[in-house]
């Protein structure tokens, strides 16, 4: 169990990201989190703690935190039924139209770099209402003008069946929202300790921004308390190393 008491003045970057993502989740029935995603997992658990059990949280890497009894297809069927409201995606490359590349760089037939593959992105991006893009590395290598390969497109033509898509992109420098009609990101806030100039120089795509870009708000004390006291021990069941590093859980 976490023994650290909430400290109103200090928080870790991870805690900031978790708090921002939890706000993005908002009121939802079901958030599903892929493998190896401790920050989205913590954010979903935080949203659940704040929502008194809602959303239902599925941590896909953990048999204990998933209910599937119909094999690997159940995640996708469940999403197709409209029963997954929030999902998280990353990408080797993400471009300014919200396109995600999980496949390769360069010509597909003669690539210069190869990633593992598209996984379920080419489907889930279309049918999960709130997809939150999460890519901590914020550089011109990852946030590019145009992806080499579209694993999943950020927006679709009007006649294409689409009940979901990206709502935001969070990095270690800032938070963007996504406007599917304009097919563009908008800078919402820059994290404390980072600057607009730094965001511009490290982003490969163009984006909208307000005249005055706010600073990402610090996690409120109640959020930090819930996170450290309630969420951290739950998270430690699945991500012991991360929970130990960030919250000192299990030490």
């Amino acid at each position: 169990m976490a023994t650290t008491s909430p400290n109103q003045k200090e928080f870790r970057t991870e805690e900031l990201l978790i708090s921002v993502v939890a706000d993005l989740i908002g009121d939802a029935r079901h958030a599903a989190v892929g493998n190896a995603s401790p920050i989205p997992a913590a954010a979903s658990l935080l949203a659940r703690a704040r929502g008194n059990g809602r959303p239902y949280v599925s941590l896909l890497g953990s048999p204990k935190h998933t209910f599937w009894t119909d094999g690997g297809r159940e995640l996708f069927d469940c999403a197709g039924q409209g029963r997954i409201d929030v999902f998280f995606l990353s990408g080797g490359e993400i471009d300014g139209e919200g396109n995600v590349n999980l496949v390769s760089v360069g010509d597909y037939d003669k690539p210069t770099a190869r990633f593992p593959g598209s996984f379920g992105s080419a489907y889930l991006y279309f049918v999960v209402p709130k997809v939150i893009l999460f890519r901590t590395e914020h550089s011109k290598r990852t946030l590019v003008p145009k992806v080499s390969f579209i694993s999943a497109p950020g927006a679709s033509a009007d006649n294409v069946y689409r009940t979901g898509g990206p709502i935001a992109l969070i990095t270690n420098r800032c938070l963007f929202s996504f406007d599917p009609a304009r097919r563009r990101f908008k800078l919402e806030s820059v994290h404390p300790g980072h600057t607009l100039a730094e965001v511009i120089v490290n982003t490969g795509f163009e984006f909208d921004r307000p005249p005055d870009v706010p600073v990402t708000p610090a996690p409120p004390p109640e959020t930090l308390r819930l996170l450290r006291e309630t969420v951290a021990p739950e998270l430690a069941e699945v991500y012991p190393q991360f929970a130990g590093k960030v919250f000192g859980t299990g030490r």
Binding site: G72, S104, Y108, P111, R114, S118, Y125
Partner: protein, 272 residues
């Protein structure tokens, strides 16, 4: 009736050169002992279809030169990084890669299970996954106006190969919650299974176990291979061997290191 329980090498006989071989994702029971036996036997030109992803199994087979084509949604060693031989072989263009997306593979196996030529799937439109799959088609949903939808052709493999906790002497195999293994077996012409142990009695006659059992009717051969998924996990039985996978990731980063791994863990250790 031929004997369903066989030695590992006998059980693998249906997996010939050029075979279309279905393999499961890492977390459901991968037949790694069988994979090493296939490499020892020198199997050639496998057309692997992963349901829906693969990790060490595809990487090992690709590195050992056994693979002609691979259809999958992803190959990765997960927390141990990229799959090194897969990555190198894609960059070198030494096998045919068919990129897919997870639910497309599930649906295509279900099409074969149901004996229909195709299955529809939402999503995909505007993705380069679709753009590089001339074998996938878009039609206008005939139940609606202007509503394009993708159709995926059925995948009916020659053989499905996986590892499970137990089987009985009738060839019934207990797979528990890993139900894609049942779909895989229904879709494949033949199914070969390795198991941790033989269960005395008939799994189908046990009310609780029957619910998680693949009937022997679909099973061509079963071989006992204790810890047969090692170094990958068998759900609710054993976890990854993280130390071994880290060693693999390190060695397989180079061709020389991979050759050394094969020598140590595939060719020398017959029952690793």
């Amino acid at each position: 009736m031929p004997q369903v329980i066989r030695t590992l090498d006998e059980a693998l006989a249906p997996i010939g050169d050029g075979c279309v071989l279905a393999i499961p994702r890492e977390s459901t029971g991968v037949a790694m002992a069988a994979t090493r036996a296939l490499i020892r036997r020198g199997v050639k030109r496998l057309n692997l279809v992963a349901l829906p992803t693969s990790s060490l199994q595809a990487d090992l087979l690709i590195g050992a030169g056994c693979v002609e084509s691979l259809e999958t949604s992803a190959v990765s060693l997960g927390e141990f990084g990229l799959a090194p031989r897969f990555t190198a072989a894609v960059l070198a263009g030494t096998f045919t890669m068919k990129d897919a997306t997870c639910p497309a593979l599930h649906a295509a196996f279900q099409a074969a299970e149901k004996g229909v030529p195709f299955m529809p799937l939402r999503g995909l439109i505007g993705s380069d996954v679709l753009a590089h799959r001339p074998d996938w088609k878009i039609i206008d949903n005939p139940f609606d106006g202007d509503d394009p939808i993708v159709l995926l052709p059925a995948i009916a493999p020659d053989v499905a190969l996986f590892h499970a906790p137990m089987a009985d002497r009738h060839g019934n195999v207990w797979i528990g919650r890993q139900r894609e293994l049942i779909t895989m077996a229904h879709a494949a012409a033949k199914t070969v299974v390795t198991v941790e142990k033989i269960h005395d009695g008939n799994l189908l006659e046990d009310r609780e176990l029957a619910a998680g059992t693949l009937p022997g009717f679909y099973v061509e051969a079963v071989a006992v291979a204790e810890r047969g998924a090692w170094p990958l996990p068998l759900p609710e039985h054993y976890a990854w061997d993280g130390k071994h996978l880290a060693e693999y990731a390190k060695l397989a980063a180079t061709e020389e290191g991979f050759a050394q791994y094969l020598e140590q863990h595939v060719y020398e250790k017959k029952a690793a």
